[in-house]
Amino acid sequence: MKIRRREFLKMTAAAGAVAAVGVPKLNAFAATPAAKAAGAPKGEWVPSTCQGCTAWCPVEFFVQEGRVVKVRGNRFSKANGGYVCPRGHLMIQQMYDPDRVKVPMKRTNPQKGRGVDPKFVPVTWDEALDTIADKMMELRKANEPEKLMYMRGRYSPTSTDLLYGTLPKIFGTPNYFSHSAICAEAEKMGPGYTQGFFGYRDYDLAKTKCLVVWGCDPLSSNRQVPNAIAKFGDILDRGTVIAVDPRLSASAAKANEWLPIKPGEDGALAAAFAHVIMAEGMWSREFVGDFKDGKNLFKAGVTVDEAAFAEKQTHGVVKWWNLELKDKTPAWAAKKTLLPEDQILRVARIMGKGGSATAVYMGPGVAMTPRGTYTAMAVYALNGILGSIETEGGVFQSSGAPVEKFPSADKFIDEMAKHHGHGKKIDGRGAKDMPAMMGGKPGSGVVTNNVANALLKNPDAIKVFLSTWSNFNFSCTGAERWDKAMARIPFFVHMVTNASEMSQFADIVLPATFAPAEKLTIVGNMANLHGHISIQQPVVKPLWEVKAEETEVMWLLAGKLKAKGFANLYDYYASFEDPETKKKPANAGEFAEIAAKISSQKVWNGKEKMKGDPIAGWAEFRKRGIYNSETYAYKKNWGKDNPETKKFEGKFKTETKKFEFYSETMKKALGEHAKKHNTTMDDILQVSGYEARGELAFVPHYESPKRHGGDKEYPFTFIDYKSRLNREGRSQNTVWFQEFKKVDVGDESWDDVVKVNPVDGKKLGISTGDAVRLTSTTGSIVTKAKLWEGVRPGTIAKCYGQGHWAYGRVAAKDYAKAQPRGGNNNELLVDDYDRMSGSTARNGGFTGVKIEKA
């Protein structure tokens, strides 16, 4: 039957002559495409930087009529090749979130607590900043500036120096803390105490022959998602991908070999791999060296004479074998890891065959556990034994791009600030049981999550608390402690885009810029063997009265403090000078721009010849949006024999300048910490919860996993992982996050499911879709069960991200009633630490859980 539109109209009007399917209401009065004549607005691509994860991807926004409509990677970026991962696209909905805070607001309900309505009302920026300045001045007047605390959430690596790096020093408080230790800091201990590099690694994925993805899922998260996605499929053509993960991750789903390890047993697997690689003679002769007579003496159970081996770039390989590896056979590891012995052996041989083109890509799953420092060392040391340090297809230290520091603030620090600013920090770093020896320096690492404990112990410690782009009540394990601690803070100022969980405890909320599209600053990072700096800028006029917290807000706040008699901060900022025009800032906007120009000037001012992209000036840099460094040179930090002195000169930043399988660097740091507390290193190890004593503490080694909650009461081991759509806990209020949640392997859209092996489901009488209550020694959440084969019996897995009880009307099930959509893993996970690094434990199955039908 053929019908013309006009006839159809007539017929349906007549008497429903056509039995139309569904609801054929006509669009007779709607504008037709023909009616809307040609002339769609042109658009332009404007560069900026995504900060949805730690990749900090240089991006471009497509702008039409002052609106952001599309996103892509910056086409000049060597880190992402012009592509974004799915997170990038979510920025549009995050920026245009109907629930964004559009004006400053203040609390009118003095009562604070989870589920207590703060009764926020709008205030002007002027009133808000006046109130904050008054509260700060009270501290100075009372000679207690240390009762000001600043905590940093997501930040700009350059302009952070104007808030995190400046305000506490000039004001006079030692209490400023970064979020870093709840992220992945313990990872850094692996390369740190072996190679002297306390940082995140890069990889030559374009050449890798064997990629070992371990405790992370580079296709979903972990610092270079677009680069990993771009190169993964080709590695499968070229060689082998191995995935070590207790759950079937995206990488595991695409790997040749999935090793679903028992949570927390990574150190056992690493030891067995090293054992096989050495016993079967597959170590790198070029990097590690060889037995003097060429005969392999590494035999299971046999101690080797150190003098028999001549090392090249490394130190202590025989000590490592003797102290740790000689008995760590695949059969031993199979019992610990619950992986088949033949698979361990097979994979070790594949790694050995890949040799120096085998990249062991270690993630937080290995390290962010209560004894994670040693596991990180054990897994990372595999790169050492394979010789894949800075080789074709191997593992690299980070690349950077030149950034200019801001002028020194020293002369603006007064006596009070000097005196109080050097007091003891409340996060407990450097305590006997918290060595926190990041960078080889005891007491130097931040212990973010311990701040809540300090606040609970000493409620008077902090009177005024400022925080930016943070949400510790949601993002920290033992989240409930933060609810209690925050309820007691007398005056809390939160600078954020959304009324988050933490904002519910705020006295003043200042609407922050949505950094990727509204903030002007310079961001740097690296991937794919290149470092870069990229601009982050307002690509369109922001819709609301938002300000950049590290620059604009600080300028205005400094002005208020000056008006109230404390001018030092303002005077410091006002001393800045535009590197091009020499003009000094006259307002907040100029201050932000001058700061960005100062930070980035080296790459565009032409004073020094740059090895990377040539850029003619600030205007060109702003238009292009990125400077890429030169390519990382292979073996850059390998040592050489000096032909004159005949001595080996190493370049790694360890005590021996070599790659340390026996960590003299660890020995020194731990020794210093013990000395400070007048005790032995063994005592420190004991009070900090590690198992090793004596010499074993200086080599990468196996420590058994710590677990909170006994097997009887809490029979399931809980695994937390990250969503490929998670923008650091901030994207859950976008419809697109919810709609495409299913792209996380095993997950469901618009839901939050705990994955349970069907064998366990049957035992418990639980089916897919059942509401279940998960309970740990710390807390309890209700969520939905999903029976799933991607996790072993006894282990359950749930993605981080859902469970918001605030933030917005999509993220929360009911914002007004503080009801969460799903459950927040951090309410289950126990507040514990890898004390060597000060990192918060969140992986390795350290939390036992029981499951009940809800």
Partner: protein, 256 residues
């Protein structure tokens, strides 16, 4: 051979990340799921097989197959047809001629009239509600915190479009946001293709897993890939001759 636009999706390269489907939403301003309609012109299906630890997982990106024998075209009752084949082989939809009868949706083997009721993982064709204008959330004037947070309607008003991130484009057959009471689906971004650009899902794929072009042109990559690999197409038994083909395997063979 006449031109036939098609897409080859390399499942070995695909990582199932979702960037294509999201990029489609930004390009075509499709609305949020409602009333049993997904409005996801690009979407995914998943296949999980085996039991622990021998589990196989496959993500398959789906979109309109632009079938050569398209049942949706056959089913369209208006004349000239609202759903029709272009000379380039695209299954095109003309908004103005559409009467919203949804026979195309019924006829399409890859679509569901109501994904909730039919428990369908996806639907190529979505139907716009007949009474309510699209993007209801951006017409909602309620505020979460009175006077402090915005509302959907305010965001749209201040930004100047519904949805606020609306990508405006011109095409003789369809609008950049489709009206109420009609159906909509993937049109291979013909508004882009006509300007010499590739569909947005193709340019946005960080794995470069989507290859678009004339599959009848033996000199071009799509045809060459189809020749080199043994392609798989969805529901080939329906004999609609789909022009979206899948090559290689999402999960590689185990080395054991």
């Amino acid at each position: 051979m006449p031109k036939q636009y098609g897409m080859v999706i390399d499942l070995q390269k695909c990582v199932g990340c979702g960037a294509c489907a999201l990029a489609c939403k930004t390009e075509n301003n499709t609305q949020a799921r409602a009333n049993g309609q997904t409005y996801n012109w690009a979407d995914f299906i998943y296949r999980e097989e085996g039991s622990f630890p021998n589990v196989s997982f496959t993500a398959i990106p789906v979109l309109c197959n632009h079938c050569s024998d398209a049942p949706c075209v056959k089913a369209c009752p208006v004349s000239p047809k609202a759903m029709f084949k272009t000379a380039d082989g695209i299954t095109m939809h003309n908004d103005a001629r559409c009467i919203g009868c949804r026979r195309c949706q019924k006829a399409c083997p890859y679509s569901a009239s109501d994904v909730v009721k039919e428990k369908a993982a996806y639907s190529v064709i979505s139907a716009n509600e007949s009474k309510e204008a699209p993007h209801a959330a951006y017409r909602d004037a309620t505020e979460m915190i009175k006077g402090c947070t915005a509302s959907g309607a305010e965001v749209a008003m201040v930004a100047g479009a519904i949805p606020p991130g609306r990508n405006q484009y011109d095409h003789p057959d369809y609008l950049s946001v489709r009206n109420k009471g009609i159906v909509e689906k993937c049109v291979f971004c013909e508004h882009r293709v006509k300007q010499g650009e590739l569909p947005n899902c193709v340019v946005a794929c960080p794995a470069k897993a989507r290859i678009f072009g004339d599959i009848n042109d033996a000199t071009r990559e799509p045809a060459q890939l189809l020749k080199k690999h043994k392609p798989m197409r969805l529901k080939e038994e329906k004999k609609t001759r789909p022009n979206v083909a899948y090559i290689r395997s999402f999960r590689p063979a185990s080395v054991s």
